[in-house]
């Protein structure tokens, strides 16, 4: 467990290691009859009771309390406590690993490390915040984000309004490293978190032959195909295979919001889409999504805005997006014949989502803009099948090979004129300030020393109120139900804790409805 490297977060690492050392010491003393059995424990700081008067009972709003509660192992007569202990150990271990490797993980990442243990995302959310509170630090100091949304990788240079280049503030989630393979300046296949578009004056995308929007980073584990312990990441797989730099289809940019896009990611893509040279055309922008209703809804959000409030965020739409896949023809070609090749069945939520989209989305009406999407939704409903983009990994050349082939088929080519690259004018595109009134507040939320509520900082990644969407709320609620259906894991939680947490969640949702966009991920 000990780390010999020096880190900015050394203090937190030390605190985690102290807990493990105490436990190790207790284990070593096991045979010592004078040490009580309950000596193996993790101390958690008690939260002062916050009256349920409608204020968000956030952990950080509460006054620090000096009292501690020990989660012990074993705990006679309290079977749930063993589970809590295990959960805490697992989370602490993962945090420690993230801190030592100096990578930022999301609560969602943590959950997917061991869904069988955590049962629900709520468990992780709750204990991550408890640990942060116990240590007296913000969650970000633990290198855990609520959900770092956008990631981007590829060949471009950011210009900031103050004339500086893009740079990386340690530990701040919204920075983006300059990535460019020419000139050997920075050559990185590591995806970067998407910059706050307010900090971007212009993007130089000269030499970019294509832009690929990918639905998600981490796949949902699905029966038998990918184990939960080993969540494969389409985005990272493609990024680490350097698709964006060594593709036969030319250099490109890949971007993901890991699910439903937040405002920042959409703004960034919008910025990219308008960053081409004035006398050239934009590189084609493609979307790679799952073959399921959410995949189409996510693509639609990038392209046309969220279903219900499309008029309000039309300024962020990227209408030129073309659907690369996964389409019915991609997954059904070999089916109908042999085994299911990664096909999954729609659940009730999927079907409801598909019907809602067909019913309510203007663009999916007969004779409207997206006839193909309408058709694909109908095919899903008819056959009751869906497929995740990970099925492409089964084919020759894997996901990368598949994407490359599709890019080539779609006629992507390198910009012909090399001279253009040298004299490339940066398109000066800035986003209107007034569209993002809460910008200052958002930035504060990202600072490590700000004790904002964790959920608020996640919300802060986008501007509030633009994306409040009842659709998504519905979906979120149904998703919750689905979790509960999977063997009623909620019953395993300490009910007191859960109750507090849920109350917290609900008041947060009321206060800051944009959180729904993010909550979709749950």
């Amino acid at each position: 467990m000990a780390s010999y490297q020096r880190h900015a977060n050394a203090e937190v690492i030390a605190k985690i290691e102290a807990i493990f050392e105490n436990i190790a010491d207790s284990l070593l003393n096991e045979e010592n009859p004078y040490v009580p059995v309950n000596d193996i424990f993790i101390p958690l700081r008690n939260k002062k009771h916050t009256p349920l008067n409608g204020n968000a009972p956030s952990l950080f709003d509460a006054e620090p309390s000096n009292g501690f509660t020990n989660v012990s192992f074993p705990a006679k007569g309290r079977p749930k406590e063993a589970w809590r202990f295990t959960v805490l150990i697992r989370i602490l271990d993962l945090m420690h690993e993230a801190l030592c490797d100096n990578v930022i993980v999301s609560k969602r990442n943590i959950y997917y490390k061991d869904p069988a243990l955590f049962k629900t995302q709520l468990t992780v959310d709750y204990y991550v915040d408890i640990i942060a509170y116990t240590f007296g630090v913000s969650r970000l100091a633990l290198n855990v984000t609520a959900a770092a949304k956008g990631l981007v990788a590829g060949n471009f240079i950011l210009k900031r309004p103050d004339g500086t280049q893009a740079y990386r503030k340690p530990g701040v989630v919204c920075t983006l490293q300059r990535i460019r393979n020419s000139y050997g300046a920075h050559r990185s296949s590591q995806p970067q978190l998407i910059d706050d578009p307010h900090d971007v004056q212009a993007i130089d995308i000269s030499g970019v032959a294509w832009i690929l929007v990918i639905e998600k980073e981490v796949c949902l584990w699905s029966k038998g195909v990918f184990s939960a312990d080993d969540p494969q990441s389409t985005f990272r797989t493609l990024a680490s295979s350097n698709l964006q730099q060594s593709s036969r289809a030319g250099n490109g940019i890949m971007l993901t919001a890991k699910g439903y896009p937040d405002i920042s990611t959409r703004s960034f893509l919008r910025l990219l889409s308008g960053s081409h040279d004035l006398d050239s055309i934009s590189p084609p922008i493609y979307a790679l999504t799952d073959f399921d209703p959410d995949g189409l809804a996510i693509m639609s959000t990038y392209k046309h805005g969220s279903f219900k409030l499309s008029h309000e965020s039309a300024g962020l739409n990227v209408p030129g997006i073309q659907w690369l896949g996964v389409k019915s023809q991609d997954v059904l070609a070999g089916n109908g014949q042999n085994e299911y090749n990664g096909l999954l069945r729609l659940n009730a939520r999927n079907r409801k989502k598909a019907v809602d989209m067909l019913e309510r989305s203007e663009i999916l009406q007969e004779g409207s803009k997206e006839e193909e999407w309408r058709h694909e939704l109908q095919i899903m409903l008819m056959l009751n099948v869906k497929a995740e983009m990970e099925v492409l990994a089964e084919g020759e050349g894997g996901v990368k090979g598949w994407v490359e082939k599709k890019l080539l088929v779609n006629g992507t080519s390198l910009p012909a004129d090399e001279d253009l690259l040298e004299t490339h004018q940066l398109a000066d595109i800035t986003l209107g300030e007034d569209r993002f009134p809460s910008r200052q507040a958002n930035e504060e939320d990202f600072l490590l020393d700000t004790h904002g509520t964790p959920e608020m900082s996640a919300v802060g990644e986008g501007s509030p109120s633009l994306e409040a969407d009842e659709d998504l709320l519905d979906t979120y609620q149904m998703a919750d139900t689905a979790f509960a259906d999977e063997g009623s894991p909620i019953s395993q939680l300490d009910e007191d804790l859960l109750e507090t947490h849920q109350v917290g969640d609900m008041s947060l949702a009321e206060e800051a409805s944009p959180g729904l966009e993010w909550d979709e991920e749950l």
Binding site: G336, E359, Q365, E366, Q378, I379, M382, N384
Partner: protein, 311 residues
């Protein structure tokens, strides 16, 4: 002994999108698709002219249709989950008579079947329930059969009205007794999704097929599986019995349509005009001595076949 069928006519682009369902009367064929309208073509003229278009029948598209054996009542169900009941007038034109919406919100009306005289409509739901409505009594629900909750993908009513059969996503196949309102048989199913079930005209046999790529024949009274028809290489999406009960027609995901002799328990004809999915295959009324059938699917056309004579 194999049989030979020839394509006699094709209605190209009968619909702008995939054709999901065909239903026939003595002189008409109704087709529905991912578009909002239902089309009616005459089958008693050599060029199968368009007779009527039921505009805006289902805004989101129409996935299933059914016509009563007496040809008087049609039903259609759209992706929005609503059933429309249509009545034919003396001039052969159809008009909407009533609507049926499943009042249980958890449900979603999927596959449908009409009784011989069109009085009763039976339908499956996503959550596996089988409901029966009385069309004469303003669409009152008169039966609700529960199954194990697996998506009811296919349904049929026996011509004599005694039985309802349903095929489910989990491979389950059930026969219900409509008189008693009880489960009559839970058949040894097909393990994989059952996308089509069909009673023989005399109601003695039930055919079932789907992703297992075989057609199972069951004896309705005993519930025993009496035959397995193998030969399809892809999911079977559609089944239809000839009027005489001698032949069974099947259409598959890979665009192949097959004719099976029930007496011989073998495939007597296979045709494939397209590799695109055949969503629906239907026998046509006999003209003279010759059997004929129609197929439709992802190529958006309706193809008509007739048995070759004199061979």
């Amino acid at each position: 002994m194999s049989k030979q069928y020839l394509t006699t006519h094709t209605i190209d682009h009968a619909h702008p999108t995939d054709i999901f369902s065909l239903s026939t009367t003595a002189s008409q064929i109704l087709s529905s698709s991912g578009s909002s309208s239902i089309r009616v073509h005459s089958t008693n003229q050599p060029d199968f002219p368009l007779f009527q278009t039921l505009d805006n029948a289902h805004k989101l598209g129409c996935h299933h249709t059914a016509i009563s054996t007496n040809g008087q009542v049609a039903a259609s169900v759209g992706f929005e989950g609503e059933v429309k009941i249509w009545a034919v007038r003396d001039d052969g034109r159809w008009s909407e008579r009533t609507k049926i919406v499943d009042d249980n919100k958890a449900g979603e009306i999927w596959s449908i079947a009409l009784s011989e005289d069109g009085q009763y409509l039976a339908a499956t739901s996503f959550d596996g329930r089988i409901n029966v409505w009385d069309n004469l009594a303003d669409g009152v629900k008169i039966r609700e059969f529960e199954t194990k909750g697996s998506f009811g993908m296919s349904i049929d009513l026996s011509v004599n009205g005694r039985f309802t059969a349903s095929g489910h996503e989990n491979g389950g196949i059930y026969i219900f007794n409509n008189d008693t309102g009880r489960l009559f048989h839970s058949l040894p199913g097909l393990v994989k999704p059952v996308r089509a079930v069909a009673f023989s005209p005399r109601g003695t046999l039930l055919a079932a097929a789907g992703d297992s790529r075989v057609i199972a024949l069951y004896d309705v009274s005993s519930g025993d599986q009496v035959a397995t028809l193998t030969g399809h290489g892809a999911w079977i999406l559609s089944l239809d019995w000839s009027d005489s009960g001698e032949y069974l027609l099947s259409g598959a995901f890979d665009g192949k349509v097959k004719v099976w002799s029930i007496e011989q328990r073998t495939c007597v004809a296979t045709h494939r005009e397209t590799e695109k999915t055949l969503w629906s295959v239907k026998w046509l009324p006999k003209t003279g001595k010759n059997e004929g059938f129609a197929t439709a699917g992802a190529n958006r056309s309706i193809s008509f076949y007739r048995e070759a004579t004199g061979g």
